[in-house]
Structure formats: C-alpha cells, structure tokens
C-alpha cells in the first residue's frame, strides 16, 4: 500500500483541512461577549442565543436586551444548555489534539521529510502515536512501572519491535524527548514545548479555571470542605440563589451584614461594597450554572483576586493616563507622541485596502486539491496502525 502512495504533502493537506475545520469551529463554541470558549453556557429562552453565564449575567445587570438580537430579555429567562457545554469539551479536546499534531508534525523541522517526495505516511501517523503514548515511558524510553498504557494492551510483536526502534531513536536524539505541558498536560517534543506553552497560556483563562478545585456543592455542604467560609450560615442561603438588590434602600450597615453573611470582606466605601456584592451574585450564580461548580470559598477567593487586579490596574492607569482631556492641545500632544505609532497604522490601513483575501484563497485551494484517494490512504494507514 505504502508504495502506491503519491506523497506531495498529502497528509499535510488532509491535516490542513482538518485544522481549518477545527479553527472555524472555534467561533461556534465561543461566547460573543468574552470571545472565549463557553463557560457554563446559558441560553436565552426567547431567541436561543447562547453566552457564558458570567458574561450574560454581568450584561443583564444594567441592560435588558439580548446582546445579539436586542429582543427584550432578562436574567430570569436564562436556561442551561448542557449539550453546548459537552460540545465545548469535545471541541477543546479535538483542538488540543490537533494542536499537538500541528506542533509535532507540521512545524517540526526535524520532520521536514514530510514535505519531500520520499516520506511515507506510515511514519507520520506513527510519530503521532509514538509521541502521544510516550507519557508511559521515561526519558530514556523505558516503560515506567505502574502505568498502564493503551499501547500495552494491544502490543503485537510487530508493534513492540516498532516501539523499540522508536525508543532507540529517542535515545540518540535528545530533540525527540517529550515534555509535558504544565498547563494542558499534553506531551510534546521538548523542542516545541516553549512555543506550545505560549499558545496554551493565551488560551487559558486568568487562572479562574482550576479543575482540581472543582467539587460539587453538595459535597461542600456535607462538610467535606474544611474551609472556614463554608461554615453553617451559608447553607441556608445557598438553597436560594442570591440576587442583586435594590441597593438604594440599603443602609451601609445592612449591606455589610449581607456581605459578611456570604463570607465576603466588608472593606471599602459604599460603591465598593455594592460592586463586591454584585460581583459575588454574578459569579456565584455562574458557578451554580456550570457543570462542576466549585466551592463558594473559591468564588470568594476569585473576587478578592479580581478586586486586587482592579485596584492595581486603576492605580497604574491613573499614573500612566491622567484623565483624557478634550482640549485641542492635548490632541496635538497625542498626535506628536504617537506619531510613529500612527504612521505605521496608516501603512497597515493602506495595506488592507489593496489586500485580497489571499489567505482564504490559499486554504481553499489546498482543500480542493485533496481528493478522496488521499483521504483513503490516510484512513487505511490509521487502521493499519491500530
């Protein structure tokens, strides 16, 4: 079969089409408000538009229309959509896997043989499996005891031989060493790990997502958590979802009592107290909307962190940027300071005027050039490898 393969970057093309499809999928699984993949997706009943729970709850605090279609709507009309949540998970896994393949196969200079006429698809497909199954071998390629791999279960003599050969290659060439990404846990060539971590970092949300931290609220209420914030008085409150209040009618003292009741700090002026309460209501409800809600102590910690960030940012903003003035002299000043900035922006803008959609065209061409035969070869090879 292999001898019949017409290479010319066949696998590259197949992968490119898959890659494009996955990338296009991102806009479907992303919230239009924050631009990130849905967290606790919620659907508006009237128009079926979906947003992250936290994003839409914040929006509804001062607005009562759907951000997308402007149909009158409110937080009371939100409902969970588990299907979307599951689909986001699926897409996440898919895109991470594709990213690994992309890093390992497409951009690895060591594998430049892919682009030559002599490559054999089997090698490429193998290399993906080798590297993804390598979590069970240590740096020198020995099997790590105590870990069972899927590989081991279906080891055939031929496969063992192949595996041995691969591990030998790794011993000789340090660039084949595999490292584990500290963020997503994917195993990846040590040469590419830095690049991969950069990508991963930009993908991960600001440490709001801590999976190990996630336990069901029921667990917390049953006393599995030892955190002080989760003590008795909260239980009764949490049977009912907290809502934002008519703050005008609340005295500072009452407001502080409420905050204390939820285990929140009572520091700061009235505006800060109101802001803190609102933020707690949004975040707590969003947490309840998610598949695996974290304990309330994590929500409180997040709010403390969020307040610190806000404070820090507002201080640095004031220092860097005394309030924007409207005078012409100020405008001139900006113009002067940012002259070089603006010059490059003008150049950029001019480029966009003449730019055709060359990128899109290129990928379409690649897609068109993939014929069924190529895909067949790819699938057959995959089956053969399994």
């Amino acid at each position: 079969m292999i001898s019949n393969v017409q290479p010319h970057g066949t696998l590259q093309q197949v992968f490119l089409s898959l890659w494009n499809a996955i990338q296009e999928g991102e806009s479907i699984v992303s919230c239009k408000i924050c631009g990130e993949t849905f967290k606790a997706p919620m659907m508006l009943q009237k128009c079926s538009h979906v947003f992250c729970s936290l994003c839409i709850r914040r929006w509804f605090d001062s607005n009562s229309i759907c951000p997308e279609c402007r149909i009158p709507s409110s937080a009371g009309e939100l409902c969970k959509v588990r299907l979307v949540e599951d689909f986001v998970e699926l897409w996440d896994t898919l895109s991470r896997k594709a990213q690994t393949v992309n890093d390992l196969v497409m951009s690895n200079p060591l594998r430049s043989d892919l682009y030559s006429n002599t490559y054999q698809p089997s090698e490429v497909v193998q290399s993906f499996y080798v590297n993804s199954s390598n979590s069970n071998t240590d740096e020198e390629g020995r099997d790590v005891p105590g870990k069972k791999s899927r590989d081991n279960k279906i080891d055939t003599p031929k496969r063992k031989q192949r595996k041995k050969k691969r591990n030998n290659v790794q011993e000789k060439d340090p660039s084949h060493k595999i490292a584990e990404c500290p963020i997503c846990g994917i195993h990846i060539s040590i040469r590419l790990i830095q690049h991969h971590v950069d990508i991963c970092l930009t993908k991960q949300s600001c440490s709001e997502e801590n999976i190990s931290d996630r336990v069901f609220f029921s667990g917390r209420l049953n006393g599995t958590s030892s955190n002080a914030h989760t003590e008795a008085p909260l239980e009764s409150t949490f049977e009912k979802r907290p809502t934002t209040l008519w703050y005008k009618n609340l005295s500072d003292r009452k407001l502080k009592d409420i905050l204390q009741y939820y285990g929140l700090s009572t520091r700061g002026d009235r505006n800060m107290l109101i802001r803190r309460h609102k933020e707690f209501v949004f975040r707590y409800n969003a947490e309840l909307d998610s598949k695996f809600p974290r304990p309330v102590s994590s929500v409180i910690k997040d709010i403390e962190e969020w307040e610190k960030q806000q404070e820090w940012n507002s201080i640095s903003e004031e220092a860097l940027n005394p309030h924007l003035e409207t005078t012409l002299s100020y405008n001139e000043e900006i113009c002067h300071i940012a002259k070089s900035d603006f010059e490059s922006l003008v150049q950029q803008a001019k480029k966009t005027m003449f730019k055709t959609n060359s990128n899109h065209r290129l990928s379409n061409l690649c897609l068109e050039s993939i014929n069924n035969e190529d895909i067949l070869v790819f699938t057959q090879q995959e089956e053969g490898d399994n």
Binding site: P67, L324, M353, K355
Partner: protein, 151 residues
Amino acid sequence: MSTPARRRLIRDFKKLQQDPPSGCSGAPCENDIMRWNAVILGPEDSIWEGGTFKLTFQFTEDYPNKPPTVKFISKMYHPNIYSDGSICLDILQNQWSPIYDISAILTSIQSLLCDPNPNSPANSEAARLYQENRREYDRRVQEVVEESWKG
C-alpha cells in the same frame, strides 16, 4: 494584570490583525492596553477618499459591557462629529452591544463618514450644509481631508 476587559482586548487585537477591515487599522498604546490608537482611511469613491483620520479609543474595565470612548484626533468636518472629535454614533451610546469589537466600531465609524445622520447633529453647521448646500459641504470636507495629510 489580566481582567476580562484586558483579555477581551487582546482577543480584539488578534482578530484585528488577522482579519483587518478594509481601510482601518488599530493597535493598543505600548504601555497601556486600555488605550488604543486607530486610523481610518477615507472610503474610496467618496468625498473622504485620500484622508487618513486618526482616532483614540479609551476603554474601561467594564468593556465589553460598556462601550469605549472614541474620539477623532484629526480635525473633522462632519454632521455627527463634535469639534473636540467626539463621535455621535448610536452604537457607541445607547445601541451598544457587548458583541461589538474594535473592528465593528471602526467599520461603523468608517461608514458613518459617508452616511451622516443630519437628524442628530453634533456639528450643526455641517449638518445644515450637508442638507442645504452640498457643494460647500464637500469643499469643507475636502479641506479636512487635505489637512489630514499634514499631521
């Protein structure tokens, strides 16, 4: 430090670079992601053609739930642009939606140039000339287009 507003702005920036709208560009200031500079080129085949107009964006931590403050710093002559450069545009005020990003804002402002709304004038003289004396209006626009080359 990373907040929802800042994360969203980084995303906007990436999108703007990957898929810039025709005749627009923008980038955050070097040391402050909450402040952006942008450039809009006058649309082709219009009286604004040839103009390079500079703008600033000021975002708050409430973005994208609140719109940014957008101002022209190039001198403008337009029924919906105040003399200080502030823009009277519904999507930057009561018609704002958090799904708008910087590309969307730039595109809207660009189309506002050729399609002013004289019913909510920010520059009453420009609005009057636009309705009553188009030739004079065009001449005044031509002046700011030429002026935009200097600065």
